[in-house]
Symmetry: C2
């Protein structure tokens, strides 16, 4: 039996003075990403592309909080962080754990780059 | 800033002729485990010890399907696989992804050993 490892990568960086860890793992049906400034898995959100989007180049995404506090800001952050990943991963849904101290637009942009540096898709 | 890696381990084994992969990742508030015979993340179940159990040596566990099909067998398997981990990890809850072809008692026992071989807690 040949061994195929589950692809996983992680890194950490200080973002606006806050230590930020990211770990990305590839599954056949999901990209799993945890972005944490607390060491916790945080709020778990699924980000799923709509199967029937009228415009292929601009797919719609559905966000759903599976675990943790369901706040509007969480949905915005999740979409912002995961849309790009999903598109690059052949429209695979993303399962995202978010434990953020700083959810400013500026921080989220830097986090997006941090996620990209751990590309497993 | 000192770098602290998120602890993650994985392995694979043939169980009753089926290739079985496991990946365990440690977060401060959860142990995250995916046990897959399809490469998928599968059904996502949280296994949480009851905070107020009358008998400390025999804690009760609550299982909740967060994503995927909610079937009685999933709850049984999840409890069977995660109870031990949670206890060993200082009563931390376990987040478990299950994508199993074979959920026989015999297979689940072997899967429990496989999880133990990837101890991150």
């Amino acid at each position: 039996m040949s061994t195929t490892m589950i692809k996983t990568r992680q890194t950490e960086k200080e973002i606006n003075g806050v230590r930020t860890q990211v770990i990305c793992t590839e599954f056949s049906n999901y990209i799993f990403i945890v972005l944490t400034q607390y060491g916790k898995i945080g709020t778990l959100v699924s980000v799923t592309p709509e199967s029937k989007s009228s415009d292929v180049s601009m797919p719609m995404f559905t966000t759903k909080v599976l675990m943790g506090k369901d706040e509007p800001l969480t949905h915005v952050c999740a979409k912002n962080l995961a849309t790009c990943v999903s598109q690059e991963a052949g429209n695979r849904p993303v399962l995202l754990g978010l434990a953020l101290k700083d959810s400013s637009i500026e921080a989220v942009k830097l986090m997006r780059d941090l996620i990209k540096s751990c590309q497993v898709w």
